[in-house]
Symmetry: C2
């Protein structure tokens, strides 16, 4: 399904030759005056120059333009990287008549190479010339790197009798273990939302979506997620009540759909794996167990092989670092099949059952810890030959 347009948002794409010739690698997003913005960024200490600049600009004023390049992350580039990101903003500001602080820069691609800022700036007029409200799918293409398909999601709801839209795009397939946000995602709505409320809604949505996915445990230097509210629908989101709940749910649904799309397109992924941990003392320990399973190369290769080698899941639960774990109370299910209970193989479990489940493209690992009421749910992929191939060949 094509994404719904969002009143007050236009998107344009250009081929700037950042890394490869003739590839859509430069995206500009324009938002109407009065738009509110909320954002979350990577917590990697080596965050990229555009992340630093975007954070600084957001602290000063709401944005009018977002500029995104692929092919170069402008990370690990020191002072020159900051200069280049600022130069990008200045160039776009000059061409559009806004202030430099009203431009937010985003970059994704290889780390540690100087941003080819001249080629980027030279591509801006073409991107601006192609700005259109229907530009969402083109923009979704324009932010792809190792992604194999463009990712968007769209929701419509009624607020105070007015139709409101929430539409987003995202990119990312590797170096995915977001900590506050994923690689790059941009979500916009035509609802009017107070900035503080917008940030609150975004933070809540991220916890259950982008902060609940992992491909390889590698948190990127460039993660950024921006939520833009243009207010052009005429409907305002209240701070509580049913309309607040409906709008938050729509933002959350778009974020989950985008986050899951990143996992389904995970580098080399052949399986979509949900890890559900229940019965923990708190959600932190549930997440700890879930991520230990999701990051285990042995668990991931077993899923690639469609081999019900459940001992590897059990071993991952055991090394997750939970104190006083009572093995007698732990159980593990693969979809509807109980494979482990009371510290060992479930009496009724048969290898044939395990093989049947492992053959499925979507599988849920459910771990019951039996020591509380907390839960956590994350999504991940298997680990295939193609993951190694893609990441061994990425630069060459």
């Amino acid at each position: 399904m094509e994404p719904f347009i969002v009143a007050g948002v236009r998107l344009g794409v250009a081929r700037a030759g950042i890394k490869y010739p003739d590839r859509r690698d430069l995206v500009v997003i324009e938002v109407a005056a009065g738009t509110q913005a909320a954002a979350v960024f990577t917590q990697n200490a080596f965050c990229a120059a555009p992340v630093i600049v975007a954070r600084a600009h957001l602290a000063v004023t709401a944005p009018r333009y977002l500029v995104i390049n692929t092919g170069n992350a402008n990370a690990g580039t020191g002072v020159q990287g900051l200069t280049d990101a600022e130069a990008t903003c200045r160039a776009l500001a000059k061409q559009t008549g806004c202030r430099s602080e009203e431009v937010l820069p985003f970059s994704t691609g290889v780390i540690g190479e100087p941003l080819p800022v001249e080629r980027l700036v030279a591509g801006l007029p073409a991107a601006l010339a192609s700005l259109q409200a229907e530009g969402w799918t083109e923009a979704a293409h324009g932010i792809m790197t190792t992604d194999t398909w463009p990712k968007w999601a769209s929701q419509r709801l009624m607020l105070n009798g007015r139709e409101v839209t929430v539409t987003g795009i995202a990119k990312g397939a590797g170096m995915i273990c977001p900590n506050m946000a994923t690689m790059l995602a941009f979500v916009a709505t035509d609802a009017a939302v107070d900035q503080a409320l917008l940030q609150h809604i975004l933070n809540a949505a991220v916890a259950d979506s982008f902060n609940a996915i992992t491909v390889d445990g590698d948190t990127s230097t460039n993660d950024a997620l921006v939520l833009l509210a243009t207010g052009q629908s005429g409907a305002t989101v209240p701070t509580q009540g049913e309309d607040y709940a409906c709008f938050s749910a729509a933002v959350r649904a778009v974020c989950i759909e985008l986050a899951q799309a990143i996992i389904r397109d995970g580098e080399g992924a052949t399986k979509f794996i949900t890890v559900q941990v229940e019965g923990g003392r708190d959600s932190a320990e549930c997440r700890q167990v879930a991520y230990t399973i999701a990051h285990s190369p042995l668990v991931k290769t077993a899923f690639f092989a469609a081999d019900p080698n459940w001992g590897r899941i059990l071993a991952a639960v055991g090394r997750a670092g939970l104190t006083d774990l009572d093995l007698e109370r732990v159980s593990i299910h693969l979809d509807e099949i109980c494979i482990v209970c009371t510290g060992g193989r479930a009496p009724d479990y048969t290898e044939a059952q395990g093989q049947q489940v492992m053959a499925r493209p979507d599988i849920t690992i459910r771990v019951e810890l039996g020591r509380g009421a907390a839960t956590a749910r994350i999504w991940t992929t298997d680990f295939s030959f193609d993951y190694v191939r893609i990441n061994a060949e990425y630069r060459t």
Copy 2:
């Protein structure tokens, strides 16, 4: 070099058909009366039945026999697993005339399948019949699973004018991220060492050897390392002074050689990578950074590709969770080449230099944190097609 024999130790091997026919899969180690033993075991909460039984037996008395099977880990096997491990000890005790508590059982192989205890017990007479002081290399073969070569190490030193030997064997190639010990390792000396001192020396040696290696971050359920001191050389190790230091250094050297052999034989490994982190506030944070680098699938695949994609190392340092990391003070070297300083690419660094280093089979990543005097050093491998192949095919 063949390992030196250790007075008071004999080793025997049999083909018991635990998992495969006609494979050396059962090892018995006999130690002289009066031998002291120290051991460290996995901290995986789902520790295997033989680990539980060996711990319990060691708490009661010093061992006379160790029995090790491959092909089956006897882990995730619940109460039946404990019964089977005890039955193994009883059978060996009966055939040798010792007490059941004087036997320590060890298992390695697939998790979650019942131990074929009848086949194991049926193989014991052949193992006992082959006991010999020169049995170290045969025993090193007998404990292999996915290892591609047998691993031993041997040191000789003089204590009080008497020659003392320290010899050890180990196995392990995958599910390697020991936490107190590695998969399986057995080290013996003919020095006389008080049990508490022996444990102290072992703990110190393990910290710098088996607890400093990782293949895939997956801590096994069956890790065990035993250090045996027969006293048959007539030399006694004192609790301090030069002889203490020399003996401890010999144990440490054997442990490091065995641990490094496990990494060099890591599943699918094409590179031996030393990760050296310096200038930390404490060794814990240095280890945290070192393991974040060593476990990063992106760093590991870049090394497999011999691609100096150092941005991935920088990103791993950045996500390691150190608070207040001052990027201006961080530098990263690959062997003698400085690749990162003051938060970005080193000014003199060239891609050609990086490629030259990455082509080497042994590479040191050195990270300077610039915020203290603590250090840590660990060893790891790259991540290759063969790692995926080996672990996708392991059970089939």
